[in-house]
């Protein structure tokens, strides 16, 4: 999911982007680069890594209302560093961006927050865990027990998360390769959250319960030059098994996947094992975005159709993309989340 780097780097100066990431200039110098032998340590690694260029705390949830209606929820905190150091005061070169969304079958609510580091407006603390921007927060005594809040002009939510399984490290012990050229990130997940809480929507408050999935990832490296976007899936099957898989679209696509069994043991699959093929496209925000997919992982006998719960789940944020809950049918059934970027108009 290093491709989310693109998203964050769009947040950075456009001229620099046009020159390619190397054009970010001397500020790029000095950032730490993910290393395959770096062992992840917890709870320290739940906190921020200011010496890396980009990082995120990315939570998605599939929920059900009292009447059985499906809902989706997103809470994301991005960190983007202009220079590999932290500090206090306005001049601290750390920028923060928060995205929150609630998706129903026929509506999609989005909010965005931006903040400077160093003044207390946004940040992450490893223990006791707290990630916040403005009044949005994900915090708790440990990462296993969290309260999650966010609000926009039309919606708000306040939910609690309880982990029922272990952390899952992607790739090679959390070292996740993102291209044939070797770009990589540090990447782990907590895909076993039980969620209960309340969504506040224009139609009123809704009590919900469901499952949530937290992704943690940080890196300093850009996409390969030919990579234009990605399609990322996090699927939870009714069997208790889970799948994380992504396609990096480029001259030749690069795929990667992690199969997680019901007890949380991961199996990593390298390029080519996982495939995702668009079946139908949907016009949203002036673009054609595939909202029905055929997803396969033959080694696990997986051949499913993934359909957006609401094809209009467009994130009209300063860096726009598509992110929303999906329904899984076929060899396996279940729910999940889909994120698609790089579908420019």
């Amino acid at each position: 999911m290093n491709v989310k780097a693109l998203l964050l780097c769009l947040f950075l100066p456009l001229p620099a982007l046009a020159q390619g990431f190397a054009g970010l200039g001397s500020e790029a110098e000095g950032f730490s680069i993910p290393q395959p032998d770096r062992a992840l340590r917890f709870p320290a690694d739940h906190g921020a890594h200011p010496e890396y260029r980009i990082e995120w705390w990315y939570l998605t949830a599939n929920m059900t209302g009292p009447d059985g209606a499906p809902y989706g929820l997103q809470w994301t905190l991005f960190r983007s560093a202009l220079a590999p150091r932290d500090g206090t005061g306005w001049q601290t070169p750390q920028l923060w961006m928060g995205h929150a969304a609630v998706t129903t079958q026929d509506a999609h609510f989005v909010a965005e927050r931006l903040a400077r580091g160093g003044i207390g407006q946004a940040g992450v603390r490893a223990s006791p865990f707290a990630a916040w921007i403005d009044d949005w927060a994900m915090e708790g005594p440990t990462l296993d027990r969290l309260r999650l809040t966010a609000s926009g002009t039309e919606f708000a939510y306040d939910v609690t998360l309880q982990a029922t399984g272990p952390l899952v490290l992607h790739g090679q012990n959390g070292y996740s390769v993102k291209s044939a050229a070797g770009q990589a990130s540090h990447y782990y997940s907590q895909p076993f959250f039980n969620l209960t809480g309340t969504l506040t929507l224009p139609s009123g408050d809704v009590t919900v319960s469901g499952q949530a999935w937290l992704d943690r990832e940080w890196s300093s490296q850009p996409l390969a030059a030919d990579q234009t976007g990605w399609d990322w899936f996090s699927l939870s099957f009714d069997t208790g098994e889970k799948l994380m898989g992504f396609v990096l679209r480029g001259d030749s696509n690069y795929t990667s996947a992690t199969w997680i069994n019901a007890t949380g043991t991961p199996t990593a699959f390298s390029d080519g094992a996982f495939s995702a093929t668009p079946l139908t496209r949907h016009a949203v925000a002036g673009r054609q975005v595939p909202t029905t997919w055929r997803v396969t992982l033959p080694e696990r006998g997986l051949d499913v159709t993934v359909t957006a719960l609401n094809p209009n789940a467009w994130m009209a944020t300063s860096v726009p993309y598509w992110e929303g809950p999906v329904i899984v049918e076929g060899s396996h059934t279940g729910r999940g989340y889909l994120e698609m970027t790089g579908y420019d108009d």
Binding site: A83, W90, A115
Partner: protein, 794 residues
Amino acid sequence: MTRTVLSALLSFWRRNPLQLITLLAGLALGTALWSGVQAINAEARASYDAAAESLGQGRFDRLGLRGDDGMPQATYIALRRAGWAVSPVVEGDYHGIRLVGIDPLTAPGGLGPVAPQTGDLAAFVSGPGQIFGRAEVLQALPDSGMERVLAPDMAPNTAMTDIGLAQRLLNRDGRIDYLLVSPDQPLTRRPLADVAPDLILTAAEDATDVARLTDSFHLNLTAFGLLSFAVGLFIVHGAIGLAFEQRRPMLRSLRALGVPLWHLMAAMAAELVLLALVAGALGVLAGYGVAAALLPDVAATLRGLYGAEVSGQLALRPAWWLSGLAMAVAGTGVAAAGALWSLSRLPLLAGAHPRAWAMGANRRGQAALAMVLLTASFGFAIWGTGLLAGFALLGSLLIGGALALPPLLSAVLRLAETRARRPVAQWFWADTRQQLPGLSLALMALLLAMAANVGVSTMVSSFRLTFTGFLDQRLASELYVRAESPEQVAAIERVAAVHADALLPILSQQQTIAGEPAEVYGARDHATYRDNWQFLEAVPQVWDRLAAGEGLLINEQLFRRARLDLGAMVTVTPDLRLPVLGIYGDYGNPVGQVIVTETLFRQTFPDVAPTRFGLRVAPDRTVALRSALSADAGLAPESMTDQAAIKALSLSVFDRTFTVTTALNILTLAVAAFAMLMSLLTLAAMRLPQLAPIWALGLTRRRLAGLDLIRAVVLAALTALLALPLGLALAWALLAVVNVEAFGWRLPMFLFPADYLRLGALALLAAGFAALWPAWRLSRLAPTQLLGVFRHER
């Protein structure tokens, strides 16, 4: 044929260059003053727009602390963490430039030079940083390592940079002056009272709306520009009318030669448009000069009076010079309408009698119109409300007065004629009356200019007199100091106990009262106020009743705008409702003001601590007090201002306010004098048939020239006499109607006879000078030319 007709028409101007100059100069001068004023107004408006655009002035609600010391940054963070979508701003004076620091990540929509999505955000918020401003601002900034970015759309005298840098440059680390409140707020946020109870929310429309405050000032300028233009049109009207009458024979000949009427009219219209464009272009050029010369004063006035930043530099805007040209063409059209109408009705075989023009056939109609307008002005004075009614009053008064001039002069001359016994005297008065129509336009211009001069100078001088007296009563304390911290306040109190006779805290708080932006002041019960303050209206024992907390005082602005008379209940806060005990004059302040006792003020606004104080001390001990404050309370010299310095500053702001008015006034007078000269010169050439017989009867040329000179002075003197009442009426209208509407205060009218005498003498001198050259030419006229009159007698 068109070419032939046009060249025939234009040949007239070639033969009469003086008339051409009159026409062009009159129109150019009028256009110059009009477009100059327009340029100034356009520049000021552009500056306000830029301020609104780049600083969000008046667009967003604001959160600020009571007093003007700003809030700690922690308050901002607390609000953000409570869900408030607010954005911090730091503002201050940096080497004479208003430096504004913003946070581009939280700034509400479109504010500031960089947006997160588009601008070079990284360069703005990190590294050496960037500073945005107009070219002259960037030049004036000292080098502090930042990248200077040219931003022509930025408000004048304003530089914008990142809030972190601004805090450092302004030495305000960890402080925030105010917060802009985004119109889009999240669904859930904690109440302000729970998070930051000491902050006050100011609605967007209440925040200093510079454009609204300064509207009346610009309307004033526009009125002056229009007046000058009208005077210019008088000249143009005279020149075109004269030229038309003088060309009657030519027009008749052209018609007789077979030129169709419509063709002739089209050719004449084309000729006029051509002349209007030439004069308009000259006028716009000169107007640019006028504007460039006056703009620094206007900018100073606006800054002093309203705190509005206006660029002192002039930009050439197409809308402005096009409208200047259009005004010139339209004005010429108005001035020439009569002439073209006459042409359309010109009988083919009519006699060519240019003198017929000078007789002015419709004097009766003019007198009737004058009566109507003067009556209307009475109506406006009595029943009119609003600034527009005020200007309608001025307009009808001035035009009515001008139109009434020729009939009045004619009546006076007729009276003099019947009283005259000697033949030369009889001839003199009769001849003067006969010349009146030809001179009346110039005399009307003179009347207008003089009346405006009398009116405006009376208004300004009355205002200045009132203002000086007001400053004396208002600035009663000998020394004014400003404290930087609570510790310094304590130190000042200690020093004052020893060295000063009294310490008067200045407690103030912004508040919306009766729907008007206003300031609430807390006054300590002290003899200083009782001895010095004067009221426009007050209940008996006003100070005792105020001290007892039985009511409050309001300024005249609030009294007029909110219509709060003595005894009216004023809601200061929901908990504080008191009747009005007194109304005081408060000149030079654009907003309303309320005064309550110090006790009530401290109860109502417990968080407002005084940072400014007035100190009473015997004048000879002021120096000792200053040095004690500096040594024992650590006050910087710039934190202490003595009474004299404040008075001088206030008066200089006042004087600058009216520099522009005075300058426009003098220019108008100059235009009128010029009109007089041109009329006399043109008349001189036409009067030979009247003079020749008198000369033949034995009056010398020198004697005739002398009589001409006397005539000009007599006419000017009569005009000046009539201008005086008109001017005083104008002054009354300005003081009692326009000022009240524009600024919210009514001023007592004082008379300045010496000034009027000096102005009258100036007018006579101007008329004398204007007549000198034509008279000198007459005295040197070759006898053959006078004889020629008899030879050419038709």
